[in-house]
Symmetry: C2
Subunit: 173 residues, 2 copies
């Protein structure tokens, strides 16, 4: 299987990029896989916290949960959404051909987007936003971004992002 593995900081535009590819390839969301696990175990905690705990003893735990889903896919290419550390990449690479894409935008641009989409009465300061970023990065996300096969810079419009994703899509059909 060819896996297009996506990572990106919050509000980088990763979800938009993946939504474009969703028209052409099946998408496995690692977040959904964690949500499914929460439902199965009947736990009711914060998704981020539960994700963190699942990865605590085995950093590739969530990736391992994805493997049977990948095997079920009828096709040659799939998209994985939400890679968080390089141990997950190593797990996916065991039996698949992995192409890593990171979507990047500057902290200022990501914060601007975050402010636009947030309710005014429930919003982080820039400092708290950066603190949350750094927490996220402490899981190993920076390593995944740094070792990506392709970084899509998403500072501009949605149309520009779509054009960049189209170029990638053409490589995989």
């Amino acid at each position: 299987m060819k896996i297009i593995g996506f990572s990106g900081m919050p509000c980088s535009g990763k979800t938009l990029a993946i939504n474009f590819l969703r028209n052409y390839f099946p998408v496995i969301s690692m977040g959904d896989v964690v949500r499914e696990k929460m439902k199965e175990k009947n736990v009711n905690v914060d998704l981020r916290e539960y994700s963190f705990n699942l990865r605590k003893t085995d950093k590739a735990f969530v990736a391992k949960l994805c493997i049977p889903l990948i095997k079920k896919i009828d096709g040659k290419v799939c998209v994985i959404d939400g890679i968080r550390n390089f141990e997950e990449v190593i797990e996916f690479k065991k039996e698949n051909d992995v192409f890593l894409i990171a979507v990047h935008a500057s902290p200022a641009k990501r914060f601007e987007r975050y402010m636009k989409r947030s309710r005014k009465d429930d919003v982080l300061s820039f400092e708290a936003f950066m603190k949350r970023d750094r927490d996220e990065l402490s899981w190993g996300l920076g390593e995944v971004i740094a070792l990506s096969d392709c970084i899509i810079v998403n500072e501009g419009s949605i149309a520009e992002l779509e054009n960049k994703i189209k170029e990638i899509y053409l490589k995989f059909i």
Copy 2:
């Protein structure tokens, strides 16, 4: 002072990018600062190892060594080469306006460049090259790259890289 702070994985093209800016702005190399410290202390070990040890107890130690050099600069903009962790960025931000640039190329492209510039009898395998990358990243370099204000993708020619750097240079003059 406006600081243009550079980071990048080995063979990303960071040095080429900085060499272009060297014609216009003073450059402080964090590697040179460490080398100077080694000379002063009369130590004769591997630069990477010594750099790592200096940053072990205080991750911003090398950044702190750069502060008096920044203060001596007669001008409004300088380039810092070789940021390795986000604590260094925080240190630089205390009294300066920092714009973080990461130069990125895929592991395959970086390895291709590494092979071209290496002596045939003294060369790492791709696996050893990736292992060295991951060691580098364990210092916190991935966090710096992920939180950069600008990522320059350098998969193409030197001329293409220079054009990208020129755009940045124009923002700072």
